[in-house]
Subunit: 136 residues, 4 copies
């Protein structure tokens, strides 16, 4: 994957079976997306968001391959699969100590947060997203 | 859809854009699944769960068609698409005042909560799930 | 209590011990506050919020008296204890089948959501909050 | 404070006003408690929890002094105020870039997770908790 981050499973992520509740693992995708900005794009996502560029999800697919437990450090890898004019498609893969725990794909639209309407991905962001595509 | 329930969008469901944060809408799927037990299956899910039958999600796909706002009552329809030996596949469709806001598909495995291993869907549950398939 | 509502404990509210995780019970206070608007104040809180009046919490105290379990319907009673110029203090009491499960007190400031600064509680809201004080 | 950790404010922590929703800041207390185990007690809380010692909260008090925003790194300080036979009282203070954002006090009971009944704090834990009291 083009970028990898690590997310610690907290008590608040667990369900009654003692494993991470799956909507909380969906939230991990967003946390990895945020870390991708800080670690790869070069500017924290909160800054970009405050300046008016948002990435609301329009589609998510996620497979849960193995239980994620309390205290696990999930390595989340991220690869940009497609950069459209005003959308991005990202693939995620989560693992714990080398054991695959989930794979996911997320499609987000780029929006102007003032209008919440699609807007072209700014050139500097496009460059950074494209640099996170496989084969780059 | 075979079964429909209504879920109110709470303040805690919102994100900084003032719309429902998408992992919280994923959680709505589980809430609709719970309501399906109370309203269609005929026994509350918490009872079934406590007796040792769980339905951990192994796959979810969800499309977000239109923003869901604070105070919206999301009508969530649910149809059983497939009942396997120890898995179920369910389609969900959410709408607000007739406007489609999401569609989703969830595949869950039936597990014995003592071992967290797949177990055949009990016959009485199979009958109720099959009664919620389209065309039944 | 001046107003009572009922909140169902969902799977997503649970922790690894199979009981409601306490920050989620703190969230129940806000849900009861929202229901208080719909059921007592006479206008849904989302409407009031969108028109620019918010009630951010500045202080919360909460005691957890007994575990809250999956599928419990928590009866949450609410009494207004104090209505200041631009603040309100509310007492909450939660019970399940007559068994007390929590008590809480919340102090919120009334703010203009455009500026996020304190603003006097509008007269029509003051009247409705005061009508929910004990002894009224 | 005896121990300090840093917690990043994520998109999922925000409310519609664009600040951290207060029940999510209550959850920060638990995350700081977990970090206290890893960073001060000397064993990760998930391990201790799995071996059967839990710390369910029986009381929390929290004051919110200043808004917490997206991307803030909240420094959470923790001091043990009291170690009882089977309970602990902990004070927390949160700040962002030196600006105080919350203070809190949490009382937790020590329980045997098999029975969910109070149990004496194990001696090795008592020693570590006492070492995090002011003036030690």
């Amino acid at each position: 994957m083009a970028f990898t981050t690590s997310i610690l499973v907290r008590f608040g992520d667990l369900d009654a079976a003692g494993i991470a509740y799956y909507p909380n693992l969906v939230n991990f995708l967003h946390e990895a997306f945020e870390d991708f900005f800080a670690g790869h794009v070069g500017r924290p996502y909160p800054e970009v968001y405050r300046e008016g560029v948002g990435f609301p999800t329009v589609k998510v697919e996620m497979e849960f391959l193995s239980p994620v437990r309390y205290g696990d450090r999930v390595q989340v890898g991220l690869t940009v699969e497609r950069v459209g004019n005003s959308s991005v498609q990202i693939r995620y893969a989560g693992s714990v100590d080398g054991r695959a725990v989930f794979t996911a794909r997320n499609v987000a639209v780029v929006v102007d947060m003032k209008t919440f309407r699609p807007t072209p991905l700014p050139a500097w962001l496009r460059e950074r997203f494209e640099a996170a595509m496989d084969g780059e």
